[in-house]
Assembly symmetry: C2
Homo-oligomer: 461 residues x 2
């Protein structure tokens, strides 16, 4: 292992990396407040004028939520901890975490109905949707349950599904659909890190009638970003009856999804990535066309808990301000989701600001890593996610070398998960407050930790 070698190149490598660090001083880079890449631990200020103790959340919540800028996001109430810079779960704002400690409230009480109602209403804004016949859903569960909801409700045994496959999570989505009887065709790009072309997709849609097409908006295993707008519009022009289903687990609230305009039929996501809320919620958005398909099924829904027919009246009731019961929602997690949505989903402008901040941070991360000679798994910038980066390890350095060393520098990264390249790359998350609030120092801390650790491992380029 390089770590244990007395490497004659190390001094040279150190000198080169120092030179690189100097080149990288982001003098005109607005997204990162820190003006050096010298290693700085994440800041955990002990006081913040905005933060409030968690136990007072309920009272706070009864007031109008104050307008809040990203610069006031805070972790002042949190114990010092290694930065979670994986592609979800991510670092949380104090206010969101505080909402997780909301005292007991009955799940069908007027108090909680208002919270659930506002959460559903803000999900409509999040997806830029004004169609009253589209419907948001919030279920207790992992994001993965969204795949069951798709399989159990939009698929009947023998239905054809076209899976646009950009990595491990596309494979898994296909597996989930097959549990519910789908006949799956996978469409891939020419290599790992690429995506199928619009020409491939058009040809596939013309060759066969598909009940659904699935797009993994960002495949968390590769960091590949798909062009949902172009694909969805293509589908609706070539095969309008095919439902466009978007796995937005690693994209929602980081990448824009203009649900109505793009004619998307279904989006599924989890709470712990772009939604910047602890894991434990499955968030879904269904078009009128998708709900019609469910309504006109020949066979009943293939799941009890993941049944759209069972949840639809519940969500409609909550959204209209009435209580209804099918299964107990994750009350505290919904409070946290609402606290987060209020921070960024109350208007289009707020959302566009959020997307722009994520894009700028992503460019900064990718530029910095590229200048250090590191290659992303995604083949080009246009195919790259804005909330995470999958990075090939330099030759001779393994995750077993790198990740523990980075963790010693207070930063947790994720290893690989794509089966064919699992040991060859690592993943960095840059979503939520880490991406939007440079004063917290998360991004520079993570980049510095990576570059310093590589240097210590003798990396040069």
């Amino acid at each position: 292992m390089l770590r244990n070698m007395t490497n004659p190149l190390r001094n040279t490598a150190t000198a080169r990396l120092s030179a690189l660090a100097n080149q990288l001083v982001p003098t005109s880079q607005p997204i990162v407040a820190s003006n050096t890449l010298s290693y700085q631990p994440a800041t955990f200020p002990t006081n913040s004028s905005f933060s409030h103790p968690p136990q007072r959340y309920q009272q706070h919540n009864q007031q109008q939520h104050p307008s809040r800028s990203y610069s006031t996001m805070s972790q002042a109430n949190q114990a010092a901890h290694p930065l979670t810079m994986i592609p979800g779960p991510i670092e949380f704002d104090d206010e969101v975490l505080a909402a997780m400690s909301h005292p007991a409230v009955p799940h069908t009480s007027p108090t909680f109905i208002k919270i659930f109602q506002e959460s559903l209403q803000l999900l409509r804004k999040l997806f830029f949707s004004t169609d009253p016949n589209a419907q948001p859903f919030i279920l207790a569960g992992s994001g993965t349950i969204g795949w069951d909801v798709v399989g159990a409700n939009l698929i009947e045994a023998g239905d054809a599904a076209l899976v646009l496959n950009t990595g491990y999570f596309s494979d898994s989505f296909a597996d989930a659909l097959e549990v519910y009887g789908a006949k799956v065709d996978n469409l891939k790009g020419p290599q790992i890190g690429s995506k199928p072309s619009l020409e491939q997709i058009e040809a596939a849609l013309k060759a066969k009638t598909y009940k659904i097409i699935t797009i993994t908006h960002v495949d968390t295993s590769t960091g590949v970003l798909s062009d949902v707008e172009a694909i969805s519009k293509l589908v609706k022009s070539v095969s309008p009856q095919t439902l466009v289903v978007v796995d937005g687990v690693c994209s929602v609230a980081v990448e824009p999804i203009k649900f109505d305009d793009w004619k998307v039929d279904f989006v599924l996501t989890g709470s712990q990535k772009g939604l910047a809320t602890p894991s434990g919620l499955s968030v879904l958005f269904a078009s009128a066309q998708a709900l019609d398909v469910v309504k006109n099924r020949k066979s009943p829904s293939g799941s009890y808990f993941a049944s759209i027919p069972r949840w639809l009246p519940i969500m409609q009731a909550y959204e209209s301000g009435k209580g209804a019961y099918f299964a107990t929602p994750a009350v505290q997690n919904v409070y946290a989701l609402l606290a987060s949505l209020r921070q960024f989903a109350t208007s289009s402008e707020q959302l566009e600001e959020r997307f722009a901040k994520h894009a700028a941070t992503s460019d900064y991360v990718k530029d910095t890593l590229a200048k250090a000679g590191l290659k992303t798994v995604s083949v080009d910038r246009e195919s790259s996610a804005h909330g995470m980066t999958a990075v090939y390890l330099p030759e001779g350095i393994s995750n077993a070398d790198l990740l523990p060393l980075v963790l010693k520098k207070n930063v947790a990264l994720a290893g690989g998960i794509h089966k064919e390249i699992v040991s060859k790359y690592f993943r960095v998350g840059h979503m939520g407050i880490s991406a939007t609030t440079p004063s917290l120092g998360h991004i520079d801390t993570a980049l510095n930790a990576i570059l310093e650790a590589l240097k210590e491992l003798g990396y040069t380029y």
Copy 2:
């Protein structure tokens, strides 16, 4: 409505209720510290030597958990709020709520693996199980997902299921099993509030071979308690291949379940009742026999997310101290579950104390209501749950009269949910700290609120 009447009986009623209240002074009742039934708001002390601020939970957690008695349970960190005295979600201890605000931690990090591992280990203690081939599971989701896990894994299309039906939740469990192809026979007692007899069950088991028998340990719609021990032992003597499946949503951690001794095969529950943790977790426990049935299925599991074959290696990995990934667990909710389990599930003695406290509180609640002339839905004390009470409304008083009036006295109760008697009864929860820690005053506050409200509505008996 009685509320709006100038009722000549009211003065008499008041006098009688006052006399009743005097009779009820629980002079030798150890479970309730308060020695009068005069109305007292719930206490929310502003200071407690044990409580600690939520934001320091992580540090606290790294230390050995101190031994803690029920008398130190506290809500000092919580904003004043109406008491949630419904049969789940319930009132929470500060320490459990604080754990919900745990800062971000990667779901496969050594830090979180230890938390998940200890949670699984304590679930074994909770179920008095030492069989290494039995397996606890913790999934993100509502308790309801447990029904899908049973249906999708223990049932194959056409399998016969015997549902011991004691109310609305037994009906729903049957519905869930039918989604997965079960042929369900329901066995009921002679009236609402009763349960099928052992003789009925034995006859049914002898008449037909059932793949599974389901017992709703406590049906939350009726408050009926079933005798899991007697039924399970009967099943294993009459039809040993039949799997004994217990819906423990409203019983686990309130009523004892001696999993190995009683030869139970599967228990499912949610986090928000006896486990005294916010809603959002599905907790399961499977016997070696149940896992063998899953392993030997002819068809694949009928669900993707609710698949035992997919989760089993994950739970085994976490429990043995290694990370594994299938779907992201609800990290913060698991921290909260562990905080709660540490309070009562570290030893048999601790558990027996918890059950005894719930039983004593339940007797006190039921005695008090009986002395006020109110009837429970459950037909006798032996068939009555210890964590909740379903109570018939007095003639002429509706939930629309009673519940808002009780809520004005700072206590939230639940209405009816059993379809045939929905408007005729209400439900009171008495689980967790409300039952174990009389110094918090929850039980007396709730009982006083009910009795005072009835008095104001002109009730006499």
